[in-house]
């Protein structure tokens, strides 16, 4: 039950990120066409920025679970299983701590912005806190997924990202370089 709910949450977050990606492409092309016929899309840059934040923060969890976030594996892959497990627990726990703190302050920032009623400065003024919800939602889901992986580790099992990293060592995946 719990497992299913979590997986559905992660899947929804990833699908939302993909939707934002498609939205960026559509918005950019609409903006170009609009300029061509002399009717520019108002505040398109603001919207594109918010979609970018949406794609990045909401896609964070999918990336974690597909082993996409990169780290230096030189030491980890060269130590014995017991110290490796200890290191993995240390890293996962530190990540929970770091992301947890960031989530806390990001939420506080969003609530402050809402309380002050700040607006963007573009042609179409928008409430600034609304797009910040993408960041907060994405971070919360990311935090939950990190705790999930930490629990998996503590129960003596292999985190998903480690399994994916091992698979990646035998296939060609996507990188930025």
């Amino acid at each position: 039950m719990m497992r299913k709910a979590l997986d559905a949450l992660y899947a929804a977050s990833g699908a939302a990120a993909v939707a934002f990606l498609i939205l960026i492409a559509a918005l950019t092309i609409a903006q170009m066409l609009g300029r061509l016929i002399g009717k520019p899309v108002p505040s398109a840059d603001d919207f594109a920025g918010f979609c970018m934040a949406g794609a990045v923060f909401l896609g964070m969890t999918y990336t974690l679970r597909s082993g996409g976030h990169i780290r230096v594996l030189t030491l980890l892959t060269r130590v014995a299983p017991a110290p490796r497990r200890a290191l993995e627990i240390l890293c996962a726990a530190a990540s929970v701590l770091i992301v947890g703190t960031v989530t806390w302050y990001a939420t506080a920032m969003m609530l402050d912005t809402r309380a002050f009623g700040e607006y963007t400065l573009g042609v179409v003024p928008m409430k600034k806190w609304v797009p910040m919800t993408f960041m907060v939602t994405g971070l919360v889901v990311f935090l939950i997924a990190l705790v999930d992986e930490l629990v998996r580790l503590l129960r003596g099992r292999k985190p998903l990202y480690v399994a994916r990293e091992e698979e990646a060592a035998t296939s060609i995946g996507s990188t930025a370089e």
């Binding site: 990833g14 990120a17 993909v18 990606l21 498609i22 960026i24 492409a25 950019t28 092309i29 903006q31 170009m32 300029r35 603001d46 594109a48 920025g49 918010f50 979609c51 970018m52 934040a53 794609a55 990045v56 923060f57 896609g59 964070m60 999918y62 990336t63 597909s66 996409g68 976030h69 990169i70 780290r71 230096v72 594996l73 030189t74 030491l75 980890l76 290191l87 993995e88 240390l90 890293c91 530190a94 990540s95 770091i98 992301v99 703190t101 960031v102 806390w104 302050y105 990001a106 506080a108 920032m109 797009p131 960041m135 035998t170 296939s171 060609i172 996507s174 990188t175 930025a176 370089e177």
Partner: protein
């Protein structure tokens, strides 16, 4: 606290965090946060949240997912098959023969793809079996594919250039345009080497049967999809009206049309390509967020400025400075991949390089070539890894085969350091319009 001590402590802390296996983005983030907390009176949490949000909702970043997506769509088509069939009849007659297809195939594909690894994998996937079937010597085949694959990030579009442009606050399009002549320089160096190899060891290279003009013209048809996209991307870049994101979005559209015409477009490949693009975007996004916090801490502590002043007082010869940076990046490149390397170093190194009289665009190209070298550096060089998997050879064999091309890239850096105009001339022309 003394700034030198503070800088060394930060560096040590960061290296430990990285070595222990913390994600690169989080390692940068926590190092930056620690520096703010211990070295400045500023409130850490608020500053970190502001820096992260401020750098994440920037529309200029949207160029990143667009070019990534374009590459992911093309990777799932058969554009590369056409590249080999199209180029082979044109290049089979010159010394070095079909080895030139590796270089020119990579150069062409890199003009539509922003990643070295994808360029290397895409061209190798088709060229490697063909060259093996004909009995080409394996080391130079492997070396030229790994080496020329790195052109992926030197010819525009380039994911690494977008990351640097965002970090250094220069125009993405100007940096793209700055990469064209250096890209041609590296292509020329590589094919000259192959030409020399062909002349010296001509007997090792299998002969081609006679090629007719009819076959050559048919080859052009195979190249057409790629050529149309290249012309589109370049026209968009030089048009002066389109933004980098717009060029990228048009690239996505063009790639989708090509995929549809080639019959490789279906719901599955569409969704897969989108998820892959999201994954790489978020991978870079997390590192960007960490580096936002680190850069904010740098600005507060004043370490980069102090470092730039210190380097300035030493009255170093600019070439000595570039040589020293070269060594630093070669070492960093053995452990870190390009995005982490660039976002970690740009805010620190750029002030001193600019103080030494180099253009930020020039330093961008320098850092791109350093990233290319890192993809050829063991133990974690991605292009080495691609060819290890594809040939079944071990890393030592592949690395050894790649050494000549590694050295040629170093030669390219030296040429660019002596003649920086190769980088800056073209973008200046465009800016002057």
């Amino acid at each position: 606290m003394d700034l030198t001590l503070a800088a060394l402590l930060m560096l040590g802390f960061l290296l430990v965090a990285l070595a222990l296996g913390l994600w690169i983005g989080l390692a940068l983030l926590v190092t930056g946060a620690a520096a703010i907390a211990f070295l400045t009176p500023a409130p850490v949490g608020v500053m970190a949240a502001t820096a992260i949000w401020g750098d994440s909702n920037d529309w200029t970043l949207t160029a990143l997912p667009m070019f990534l997506w374009m590459g992911e769509i093309l990777y799932r088509t058969r554009v590369s098959d056409g590249l080999f069939r199209g180029l082979a009849p044109w290049l089979g007659g010159i010394p070095g023969r079909l080895l030139h297809v590796n270089v020119f195939g990579c150069a062409m594909f890199s003009a539509v793809c922003g990643s070295s690894t994808a360029t290397c994998a895409t061209v190798s996937r088709i060229a490697l079996p063909e060259l093996r079937k004909r009995g080409y010597p394996e080391p130079i085949t492997i070396g030229s594919l790994a080496g020329a694959g790195t052109l992926g990030i030197l010819f525009p579009p380039s994911i690494i250039m977008i990351v640097y442009a965002v970090a250094a606050d220069v125009s993405i399009l100007h940096l793209f345009i700055a990469g064209i002549l250096p890209g041609l320089l590296v292509t020329a160096l590589f094919s000259t080497y192959i030409l020399g190899y062909g002349l010296a060891r001509g007997d090792a290279i299998p002969r081609e049967t006679g090629v007719t003009w009819r076959q050559r013209l048919r080859g052009l048809r195979d190249l057409a999809p790629c050529l149309v996209l290249i012309v589109g991307v370049i026209a968009g870049m030089f048009s002066g009206v389109a933004t980098a994101t717009e060029v990228g979005a048009l690239g996505v559209l063009g790639a989708l049309i090509i995929a549809a015409l080639m019959g490789t477009l279906n719901w599955r490949t569409f969704i897969e390509s989108a998820y892959s693009a999201v994954a790489v975007t978020c991978m870079i996004g997390l590192i960007l967020q960490g580096s936002s916090v680190l850069s904010a801490s740098m600005a507060f502590t004043g370490i980069p400025k102090a470092l730039a002043q210190w380097v300035a007082t030493m009255q170093l010869n600019p070439y000595v400075l570039i040589g020293a940076l070269c060594v630093v990046y070669l070492i960093l490149g053995t452990a870190l991949e390009g995005v982490g390397m660039i976002l970690l170093t740009t805010s620190i190194a750029l002030p001193m390089v600019v103080a030494a009289g180099f253009d930020p665009l020039w330093f961008g190209i320098f850092i791109v070539i350093m990233t290319e070298l890192s993809t050829l550096s063991p133990p974690v060089g991605f292009n080495l890894f691609v060819l290890q998997l594809m040939t079944g050879r071990d890393q030592l064999y592949v690395t050894r085969a790649t050494i000549p091309f590694f050295l040629l890239l170093v030669v390219a850096v030296a040429i660019l350091a002596v003649f920086p105009e190769i980088v800056t001339w073209l973008p200046k022309k465009v800016m002057a319009r």
